[in-house]
């Protein structure tokens, strides 16, 4: 069986036919082709590289389908999804790196993010540079922080970040 045949087996959802009705903390109720689904779980198959792509699952983990780009849904649906996505894919965006200090084996960061100034600790190998200038930083507890575009940071922040990538 060729890959083309396998692709035709995927259930790609038409954004025109998906409508989000309500949102809870981590699930939504929605209608797909007129069928109502409640407590739908959202998962990003490519959380860093293609965050707009979502796979929807029923409460008992059956796949409803793939939304290539949720941003193409109507405005209300999009906002409801984003509210949930922001919670389940919480990832403060770093606007400025104020300091990074070595503290005997780990590093202590003080950064200014869209959620305010925060402090966290990382190991030496903590940053992942993605091709579009995006940098993902993971702290020692596994929390993830994101730099949307390294080239848009100020010079000092760039210099501090460059130590890790």
């Amino acid at each position: 069986m060729s890959i083309r045949e396998w692709v035709t087996k995927l259930r790609i959802l038409d954004p025109e036919k998906v409508r989000v009705l309500s949102a809870r903390m981590d699930t939504v109720d929605l209608e797909v082709n007129g069928t109502l689904y409640t407590n739908v779980k959202l998962k990003r198959p490519f959380p860093y590289t293609r965050p707009e792509c979502l796979i929807l699952y029923t409460n008992d983990d059956r796949e409803i389908g793939i939304l290539r780009d949720y941003r193409k849904l109507d405005k209300g649906s999009k906002e409801l999804l984003e509210r949930v996505l922001e919670i389940i894919y919480f990832m403060p965006k770093i606007k400025r790196i104020m300091s990074v200090n070595s503290r005997g084996g780990y590093y202590e960061w003080v950064v200014d993010t869209d959620k305010g100034v925060i402090k966290f600790k990382t190991w030496r190998s903590c940053a992942r540079f993605l091709s579009n200038g995006k940098v993902i930083i993971k702290d020692i507890n596994g929390n993830v922080y994101c730099v949307e575009n390294i080239f848009r940071l100020n010079t000092k922040s760039q210099a501090l970040l460059s130590i890790f990538i």
Partner: protein
């Protein structure tokens, strides 16, 4: 011709390596192993050699079409008095094996009577044994020092008798080895010149660094001269304030210049070093990417990394700093020597006195001390290994209550290390104090005689002070030069190792006229012979045919040639004889890119790149859409476990895919193969290292992957082959059976035996389980 040969011979005597010779001609080459007393093996020895070693009469015993293939000798002899040290020669001709003692043939065996040859290992002796008509005949006895040589002889005998390799093929192979060894010998001669070839495009940078080095050295010669003026014209006359100021300013100027020159030189050296490092490392890395798998069979991963890292570092240091420093040292010795002789020839002769002492002492030191240092390193490595072993086995130590034992062992090791350190120190004191004292004596004599000359008015105080300063500037480059000469030896070895890689020819490019081919899936092997080392044949006259879309299993014991077969299909190697055909076209006539695009392999232990899961799946199709990646993962039964990972398809898999389990890696590899959409698929033991549950998932994934494709499955577990159309059974590189499962079971051959053996295991396990349950 003889001269040429002699030059080769003498070279090979210096660097121990394999002895080789050329076909029927009179050329012979010997090599010495450091652990054996004289020669290794002489392949195709000349008539002169045969007469000299075996006596003039020997030539008469050779038949008309008989030629001596190899000649070697043992170091032990057995007679009625028992075993003793002594020589016996073993002569292998294309017809016979002869043992010669004291120029007389004492044993003789016809090759046509010999089934195989082997070496029987005992405590410190080895006996070459021939299997003749089912009986083992002991031929010659040797010590372990000669084992390597006789292993080569055994290989040759078995190739002729057991593997039945045509003699002409064997001869051709030996000749090829001669040529490659000779090439190697020639290529190592101009290593330094070749290394400088890398610097050629950066000559201007080398020139700048050299100029800066010369300027620095010259500048360093000024302070003693200024001190001379200071003492003679300012301090002693106690006048001339202007001159004092000038000298102080001069010294300031010299030191400032030295600082600036130092910074510039360091920067220029760094630039040169980095550019050259880039050129060398990139060149080696680029080169090895296109080398055939033969190269990777020959060199371990560690050996390649060591060449790219350690050898390049050694070469870099020499090319950027070592060489120019050597030239500068030489210039400095001449220049400072001239200044010293112009100031006072007598004092200069005295200054030269400790030089031979230093050179001789250093030479003896280098000869004597390594053994003590080796011992020191060994003791230290024992400390480390005890430490690491006891930490790794801490649970065992604690459960057995052996803490005091490991503490004692560690302390003993530490004490041995301390003793060894003291031994090194004591031995060092036999050299350095004497060398140091020789310099001190010479210095004192210079001060004494120079002081007398100053008192007599023959020499000024300033001149004496300046002379002593120059004297120390004269000694430093002498010591440096000795160190750098040792460096040259290391660089030549490093250069040889680098060029050993660079001189390996890249994988053969496509043949002229090779074309793109849209593969349907027919596979055929026609009388394929293949050998990795040129001697042992992994495949011998293998022929079979697979129809498009057919699923074929290949089975056989370990070492039967199953995996080799897949490598030939992928054109990772090319057969020495016969051909591999895809849809009736020889793979050598298909463009390599076209072939590799349409054939995929899933290996037993797939290795993934340290990137995301998505990138690993898309490796065979870089422009894959996200739908294709997800569809491939779903078909490979990988999607569900991927989506359970927090970073899903963006998860980094770690080095070699180490963050995933074996079954997960296997399914990612299957997804990658599926995305590639190959026409011919090879599965090399795809489920052999998986547990039963994972195997079920992977088997389902394989089922999806193999639908409507020509599939070749290599398997140890015959259960993997239950759905194949045909099974090919390989043994010792030969196809011995082929057919469907039912046909092969009826044939009562190797397949049936393998099947029954596995089935018996299964039954045994079931019986055991029943017994355990009671």
């Amino acid at each position: 011709m003889l001269e040429q040969v002699r030059s080769q011979v003498s070279y090979l005597y210096i660097t121990p390596q394999l002895g080789v010779g050329i076909g029927n001609s009179v050329v012979e080459v010997r090599a010495i192993d450091t652990d054996s007393d004289e020669s290794d093996i002489i392949y195709y020895p000349s008539l002169d050699t045969l007469s000299r070693v075996l006596g003039n009469g020997f030539l008469k015993v050779l038949g008309d079409d008989e030629e001596v293939v190899a000649l070697t000798k043992s170091d032990l002899t057995v007679d009625e008095n028992g075993i003793s040290y002594g020589e016996e020669h073993l002569v292998l001709t294309n017809k016979r094996i002869l043992v010669i003692k004291d120029k007389n043939i004492v044993k003789e065996f016809k090759l046509k009577d010999v089934s195989s040859a082997s070496l029987r290992d005992y405590l410190s002796t080895i006996i070459l044994t021939l299997d003749i008509r089912g009986s083992a005949i002991s031929v010659i006895t040797l010590s372990r020092a000669r084992k390597k040589q006789f292993e080569k002889i055994i290989t040759l005998i078995n190739d002729i008798t057991f593997h039945k390799i045509p003699y002409n093929m064997l001869k051709k192979h030996l000749s090829n080895r001669v040529n490659s060894e000779s090439e190697k010998a020639k290529s190592s001669k101009g290593i330094l010149i070749k290394l400088f070839g890398f610097v050629k495009p950066l000559w201007y940078m080398l020139l700048i660094t050299s100029m800066l080095s010369i300027a620095t050295t010259t500048m360093n010669l000024l302070p003693p001269y200024l001190m001379k003026i200071l003492i003679d014209e300012v301090l002693i006359p106690r006048s001339n304030l202007d001159k004092l100021l000038m000298i102080i300013l001069g010294l300031l100027g010299v030191n400032l210049s030295l600082t600036i020159l130092g910074v510039l030189r360091s920067y220029a050296l760094l630039k040169l070093n980095q550019k050259l490092a880039f050129r060398l490392r990139a060149r080696i890395y680029e080169h090895i990417q296109f080398l055939s798998l033969n190269f990777y069979d020959k060199f371990s991963r560690g050996a390649i990394i060591s060449r790219i890292v350690d050898d390049v570092n050694r070469v870099l240091y020499f090319l950027t700093q070592g060489f120019s420093t050597m030239i500068l040292d030489l210039a400095m010795i001449v220049f400072v020597g001239l200044i010293m002789f112009s100031m006072s020839p007598w004092l200069s002769y005295i200054a030269l006195l400790p030089v031979p002492v230093s050179i001789l002492g250093t030479a003896i030191y280098r000869k004597v001390m390594p053994k003590y240092y080796h011992r020191l390193w060994r003791k230290w490595s024992r400390v480390i290994s005890t430490l690491s072993e006891s930490l790794s086995a801490i649970i065992l130590v604690k459960t057995l209550g052996k803490e005091s034992n490991v503490i004692k062992r560690f302390k003993d090791n530490l004490n041995e290390f301390i003793d060894s350190n003291i031994e090194v120190f004591k031995n060092e004191q036999k050299f350095w104090p004497f060398i140091g004292l020789s310099f001190t004596f010479s210095n004192l004599i210079v001060w004494w005689l120079g002081g007398l000359q100053v008192l007599n008015g023959a020499l000024t105080l300033g001149s004496l002070t300046a002379f002593v300063s120059y004297m120390w500037s004269f000694y430093r480059p002498i010591n440096d030069l000795a160190n750098h000469l040792r460096l040259v030896q290391q660089v030549i070895v490093a250069g040889e190792r680098i060029f050993e890689v660079l001189s390996t020819k890249p994988e053969s490019a496509d043949k002229p006229g090779a074309r793109d081919l849209t593969i349907v899936g027919g596979v055929e092997l026609k009388n394929v012979w293949f050998t990795y080392d040129g001697i042992h044949y992994a495949l011998k006259d293998v022929s079979f045919r697979i129809e498009p879309g057919e699923h074929v299993g290949i089975v056989g014991p370990s070492g039967s040639g199953k995996t080799t077969l897949t490598k030939l299909l992928l054109r990772l190697y090319e057969p020495q004889r016969g051909s591999v055909l895809i849809d009736g076209v020889d793979v050598r006539d298909i463009k390599s890119t076209s072939l590799k695009k349409q054939i995929a392999i899933v290996m037993q232990n797939p290795i993934l790149f340290n990137t995301s899961i998505a990138e690993n799946i898309a490796i065979g199709k870089e422009d894959a859409s996200l739908e294709e990646i997800i569809a491939a993962a779903k078909a490979a039964r990988a999607h569900d476990f991927i989506m359970k990972l927090p970073e899903a398809y963006d998860t980094e898999v770690g080095v070699y895919g180490g963050r995933l389990s074996g079954g997960e890696r296997q399914r990612i590899a299957i997804a990658a193969a599926l995305l590639k959409d190959p026409k011919v698929l090879i599965l090399d033991e795809p489920t052999s290292s998986l547990d039963a549950l994972t195997e079920r998932d992977v088997t389902e994934a394989i089922g999806n992957l193999t639908k409507n494709r020509t599939t070749i499955i290599i398997a140890h577990r015959l259960s993997t082959l239950r759905n194949v159309d045909k099974i090919i059974v390989l043994d010792k590189g030969t196809v011995i059976e082929q057919g469907s499962h039912e046909q092969l079971i009826r044939t009562d051959g190797l397949y049936k035996r393998l099947f029954e053996a596995q089935f018996a295991d299964f039954l045994d396990n079931r019986r055991r389980r029943v017994l355990l349950r009671g």
